[in-house]
Symmetry: C5
Subunit: 257 residues, 5 copies
């Protein structure tokens, strides 16, 4: 078995999915004064992060998580890992943090790969003026869409003795991903995705974050993709977390139930 040709990749912004659980017992027991301070400092932190006060570029968003795995998701995209690190630890200094515990997290970095556009990597100068370049920029430095619903999951490509993604020839992988992307394109306008790589950064190889106003669009997209060989034979999925976006100013309402 020979070594296969890896795709070239270019990385953009670091991505932290920061999942927190609310300590509802402490919240109910807290005096009004402490609650107010927690809400004020929480709004300040979250809206500051969404305004990207802490960095030259990036984006952040706040979500209410469904189910027992977490209550709050703060999603950060920033150009440097130092900024991600600072945001993560700065949260702990807010009065809101007193009422939260870390439930989960995922660290990754936006990427585009040579499967998508070999030209971009091979002859960068020639794509300078094309829409491709703008498209690639939008994937490396994505704006978090305004959608109500978000679904996050990490995933690996399978390396089994029979279905081994990393042992496929480059062209076969590129074809799989192109076919996979075709499905996604059918959902354009309804589902937006941020694909970020996490090899060496976190436990899986990629993180997938899907945004939609209607959660069933995400469900149908992923169901359809599951019948595509790129998923049916080669994908290994981790946990799935679902959440609903809310503006930081509604933190008080969120905590009021």
């Amino acid at each position: 078995m020979e070594r296969r040709r890896p795709p070239q990749t270019e990385e953009g912004w670091y991505v932290l999915h920061d999942f927190r659980s609310i300590d509802w017992d402490a919240w109910r027991d807290a005096p009004e004064r402490r609650r107010s301070r927690a809400i004020d400092e929480g709004i300040e932190y979250l809206s500051g992060a969404e305004r990207v006060d802490d960095a030259e570029a990036g984006d952040s968003a706040t979500f209410a998580v469904l189910g027992h795995k977490a209550d709050l998701l703060v999603l950060h995209l920033r150009p440097t890992l130092a900024e991600i690190d600072a945001l993560e630890r700065r949260f702990e200094q807010t009065a809101l943090a007193e009422f939260t515990e870390r439930a989960d997290s995922y660290l990754s970095v936006t990427e585009v790969s040579g499967y998508m556009s070999e030209e971009f990597f091979d002859e960068e100068s020639e794509v300078e003026d094309t829409g491709m370049k703008r498209y690639i920029e939008s994937r490396l430095k994505p704006e978090i869409p305004d959608s109500e619903f978000v679904s996050f999951y990490p995933m690996d490509k399978r390396r089994g003795p029979e279905d081994n993604w990393y042992d496929l020839p480059f062209d076969e992988r590129a074809e799989h991903l192109s076919s996979h992307g075709d499905i996604g394109r059918d959902y354009a306008g309804r589902v937006t995705q941020i694909i970020s790589g996490s090899i060496g950064l976190d436990d899986f190889e990629w993180g997938v974050t899907l945004f939609a106003d209607d959660p069933t669009d995400v469900k149908e997209l992923l169901y359809e993709m599951r019948f595509d060989p790129s998923s049916s034979r080669f994908a290994e999925f981790g946990r799935f977390l679902s959440a609903r976006r809310f503006p930081p100013e509604q933190l008080g309402a969120f905590l009021a139930g």
Copy 2:
């Protein structure tokens, strides 16, 4: 390997299985006044949810869970995820929540698929007046049956190199499911099911909730199904949780042991 044809699906109500553990130490230690308040607010929340005071439609039910995995299951079905989200967080504001911790949960949405009735999807207008349409409605907007026993488990269809559900031709899958359904029909009147999809919503692909007055009917149904290729070759099961329904008004008796 080619891309297989996915079934069409239609989604109905969102489903939250909300499992809670009772903090029995805190409960025993609590003064009568706090207990009464917890019972009162608990009954108010649970019976309000069962009456669906919070939404235009839906259903809710309350169960005592067997074993160490949880003590209480509150099952909610609602037309929107926003309503599910609100119910989940509103629980935390009750005095009952002080005595509970989240033990588990599962988020899904009721679905019917084109395996069952391609006509429904292909020529919707023509099934307008048929019983099929009423049947489909009853699956998308199910009433929680009054049975004493409930069994819940999440499941996936297998994607192994040899037994790969997602690589079967559509007709083969449809045949498997039809044959699988035949077994279920033998238990009509004894076991009722709510099948809900959770791709992109939670860790497995489906949630299965079975209702029966006699738990051995559920056991025998599932045992029989396990010999059907659709289960024996293609099903991957998650955890199983068993519970017994009780009316919210009996919350005090439930907590009294």
Copy 3:
């Protein structure tokens, strides 16, 4: 692949393995008065359960668990799940419960299957007067043996692409189980078993509870069985818990170390 013929089954009593950890720190710190009350109420609960004060029939027993997984095992067999549910929650109302936490549990129901005796199922009337009927009754409504040692583990039958129990013809399965049973019979008088089914009730398909005065008899029986295809090719084992029986009256001595 065709659907295989399932065995008929008959179910008897529900079985709860209720594993608890002692909070030894709280126990050491507790004043004598609270300890006495815990012991008194614990003995009352445990000996009441062993006398089956709460139901028309059934059996219960108390064990000290070896190792870190739990400290106490209370094993309950009862005709209805309602009685199991009541026993489980009534424990929480005792002063003993203040010093325990739930560590594990397993819910199942005693069963006999058509592999053992098709006649029993096919022509019930004709076995009315035979020893077979009495034998079957003893498996559906077993008395917990007086042995000192107990070993509990849950298990599944394998559904792999190559070794798939549920894809074997009925006769082959019956033969496997008959051969498997032969090994057990060699240990008659030394090892007694309660086999209970848990499909739809708990995470595995069966619970196995083995009783012996000499733990090495259990070890040798299971080792011998592991070389039988029914185990070597088709069994998937869960966790194993070992415990030693003690009479409820010795609860004080148990807690004294």
Copy 4:
């Protein structure tokens, strides 16, 4: 597939690996008086166990565990499970226990099998006077060696569709183990092992405890064994825990960091 011939086994002493974590926060906060008492009672318990004050025979030893999985390992060998049970619970009554939590444990029993010496099992009388008998005794009733380093791990033999230990003919298994033992013999004087069986007692089939003064001798022995088919094709390993022996009298120094 036929049933394979199991080896005969003889069991000796029960073995408990009792892993505890120190609650360092409580330790640092405790007044000198409580610390002294914890150290005194700890030394009394540990040195009493090492002197085997509690039984007719056996051995015990105390170790400092490396890494986050535990801090303290107390290893007990005793002729009866009742003695193991008593030692385990007696620990909880010491003032040292106030500063510890159970982190892990493993229950097993020393064994020799017919792979090693069929003569021993088949014609016991004839080996009465030989060195084999003394060797077997030393494995059933082992003295814990004085080595500085210990490595413990549980393991199973594989039962996969292709590599199935339990489906190998007896002679092939015996040959594998004999070849495996040859590697061990090359390390005689540097690495000492206690092999104990745990089928029916704990989650894996065997516990392996390796003693050496130089940890790299254990590493090199196990690495070499991994290339032997008996490991490379047939072993499934659980967790590994590493620890360093210290005499009970140094408990104070151990706790002082």
Copy 5:
């Protein structure tokens, strides 16, 4: 299947990856005096460890961990396990430890193997004066590089029925590793690695620690390696942890968020 020839190995320094979580709630609540003491004692411990005050040789470094798995990584390399053990427990005596809990850890030992240089092992005297000897020393007694980013993960070589590393002939394994090393060499100056063996010491067979100023260099290196058969067919990865180095004197700033 025959026994394969293992590589010779030589071991150098023991390696402890000591991951700790900060108890941010306790930190926020602590009076200034306790915080100052924690910072002072923390800096003293960490900078003493980095200066290797406690041993004749070795190295230590301090990192801020990204994500929820831990907050602090202290990496220690020391000639003896006794020194590692002492460092680990001495941390618990600092006032900083009051604000931390152990989140994870990994124990291993630096190694070079005969795959790399059979001459080194076979004819040690002849390589005395060569650069190879110096290179090997640098791997056995590595200096922790000054890079900003570190990625740690444990790994095994696969022992599946089809892809079984331990069943490959020596030369094939050596060739795989040589080819694998070639990829690494392309990243010389950008990514530095410490490979340490952990068979018999911890749960996996090796620990890999990669250092780089730019995290995307680690990501690209590992992605490229994943297409090499040595990874694609034979590697099983554990968890991945990412961290950023900081000098002990900045502990106060780290804790201030």
